[in-house]
């Protein structure tokens, strides 16, 4: 008997009670990517909005990743506040009652209307999920899952009848971790308790916000709508003059690009002993009390909470010491697993000079030759490394410079063989066959 199998692409329209409300992310809404322990990127990822991490501090892979309309916040006040707001939003969503229980149901092939959809444990998307906003500008889709959210390779989430605006309409509250499969297209903000992983080529129209774990990216586009983009606030001047023990010091830092009034504060490091910064004017005043090299960051915050900062180093010399200047002013970027060589030189004092790391640390794998100032070695890991190099001349006078050394990610690709083993075997056989063919045709 002939049996006919009819394959049905089942589109389920689940009639949930429409939800027309709003979820507030607070300051987390300005983040395209927010991690708890780390943010790691590989490849040419583009993030629209801020990239931040807190309470961890590791943000790697930018570049080659780029941040558009935002900045990188590594466990600073902005990232901390965003994490607090994320926790609030996460808990608010968690407390919203479910309208439909989809436990055990694969989201692939479904068409859903606004509502609160719950999964007791994990949620899986294989294929296409359609979200029908029913033409409402306030439509809201909340997805709550007890554990993981996983999308398969090439799966997609699309919104229809939204008037072309899917911003802030979809939220995924994930009880543990979320993973978007290779090449997935996703819509909505992911609020995960633990980690979020976007595998190669996964793109999302929404934020990826992880509370405790890492956000891992690999050649993705994270498009964050509704971001209130801060202007670029520049703290000036680029450098501050050095000081001398016992000599009054006055210098004013200013900010451009923000909305007045702008407040100034030292966000990391410390001013030389005896100096203070006036938050309302940016004036650094006082009399240095102790010699040494002091590296610190001054952050300017404008009326809208937007920030800009600059790293400074002030060397306070003992009375009678000349200014010792280190060159170059910046270090060229290196690449992990690739030999790096750069020489630091000093001028202005009495030779010979000795060199040392005064603050921070060189990347693992690099070392500084105290006698020559040669930085050499093979950096092992990528990242941004803030290090201050100090030169001491023959009579003990010191000068230093702060460097931000960027180590680019490990080689993203080996050139790969022109022909791999299989290719070589194929070419060998074909060449032999071609030779025999020609010999046959020419009766050799």
């Amino acid at each position: 008997m002939k049996r006919t199998y009819i394959c049905l692409l089942t589109i389920i329209g689940l009639a949930a009670s429409p939800v027309f409300a709003q979820i507030s992310l607070g300051t987390a809404q300005n983040f395209g990517v927010l991690g708890g322990s780390a943010v790691t990127n590989t490849g040419a990822t583009t993030v629209n909005g801020n990239v931040g991490v807190s309470p961890g501090s590791s943000v790697t892979g930018f570049p080659p990743g780029i941040v558009v309309g935002g900045a990188i916040h590594s466990n600073d006040a902005v990232a901390m506040q965003a994490q607090n707001d994320l926790t609030t939003a996460f808990n608010n969503i968690a407390g919203t009652p479910c309208t439909v229980d989809l436990t055990g149901q694969n989201l692939g092939g479904l068409t859903l209307t606004p509502g609160v959809y719950c999964f007791t444990s994990s949620a899986q998307l294989t294929g296409a999920l359609t979200l029908d906003a029913l033409g409402s500008p306030n439509a809201l889709f909340l997805f709550k899952m007890g554990s993981t959210l996983t999308t398969s390779t090439g799966s997609s989430v699309a919104m229809i009848n939204s008037g072309g605006n899917s911003c802030n309409k979809v939220f995924w509250q994930v009880g543990s971790s979320a993973t978007l499969g290779t090449g997935s297209t996703f819509v909505g903000d992911i609020l995960a308790l633990t980690s979020i992983t976007l595998t190669t080529g996964a793109n999302t129209n929404g934020r990826t916000l992880a509370r405790n774990g890492a956000v891992t990216l690999d050649t993705n586009n994270v498009n964050t709508c509704g971001v209130s983009v801060c202007p670029i606030i520049t703290v000036n001047p680029a450098t501050l003059p050095n000081g001398s023990v016992g000599t009054p010091y006055v210098q004013v830092v200013s900010a451009s690009g923000g909305t007045p009034p702008v407040m100034f504060f030292v966000s990391s490091g410390s001013l030389p002993t005896g100096l203070l910064i006036l938050t309302s004017t940016g004036a650094i005043t006082g009399t240095p009390l102790t010699p040494g090299t002091f590296t610190f960051t001054i952050t300017a915050t404008d009326a809208n909470g937007c920030t800009g900062s600059r790293l400074y180093t002030i060397t306070v010399t003992s009375p009678g010491c000349p200014a010792i200047v280190l060159s170059p002013t910046t270090l060229p970027p290196g690449m992990s697993q690739t030999p790096y060589v750069q020489t630091i030189t000093a001028s202005g004092g009495t030779a010979p000079f000795t060199f040392a790391v005064a603050a921070g640390a060189l990347p693992a794998g690099l070392s500084l030759n105290p006698a020559t100032g040669l930085i050499s070695g093979t950096p092992l890991v990528p990242g941004l490394f803030n290090v201050t190099i100090r030169a001491t001349d023959a009579v003990g006078c010191q000068g230093s410079r702060a460097y931000a050394l960027v180590i680019l990610p490990a080689l993203l690709a080996a050139g790969g063989p022109t022909l791999n083993f299989v290719g070589l075997m194929i070419l060998t056989v074909l060449l032999a066959a071609a030779g025999l063919f020609v010999m046959n045709r020419l009766s050799i």
Binding site: G43, A44, P63, P64, G183, T200, G201, T219, M335, T338, P339, L408, P409, L411, L412, A413, A414, G415, G416, P417, T418, L419, N420, G423, L424, I426, L427, T428, L430, L431, A432, A434, G435, L436, F437, V438, M439, N440, R441, L442, S443, I444
Partner: protein, 170 residues
Amino acid sequence: MSSRQKIAEPRPLRPRIIFVAKFCVAMLVLYAVIALNQVNDRVIVPFTEVVARGAAIPLRGVEVTGTVMRSSRFALDVRNGCNGVEAAILLASAILAFPATMRSRLLGLTVACVAIEALNLVRLATLFWLGEHYRPIFDFVHIAVWQSLIILAAISIFILWSWKFAEKPR
């Protein structure tokens, strides 16, 4: 039986066996030569550095350090095996083994090696560009497309050369 009937003359086996044997021997010898540390260090690696520099010429914002091509967005290490030498050796072995005059062989070797290396430069440049701009298809082009093109080019070069310069029996 008619005397007009011709008996098909069997094709001599010996030249074919000699060709295949010479091909294998030449291939093994050349591979053994490039496997020597001194040859690798003094010839292959410097040559690979030249290849990396050559491949970077048409690309903007690409720095070359040793065998590493890198930009702000992508980096490529042109390692042994990526320099086209193995493919050129195979083609050269076939040309050396094929019955032809020494002059023809030298001409064939020159044209074949230059063509394969030129094609490999284009390969590396396009792969780097793809790596910068279209990472998702990098592996596909790298493994499927360019290998096929290299094989096709090598076979085409060999057939054209052997057809034109084969030393026919007197």
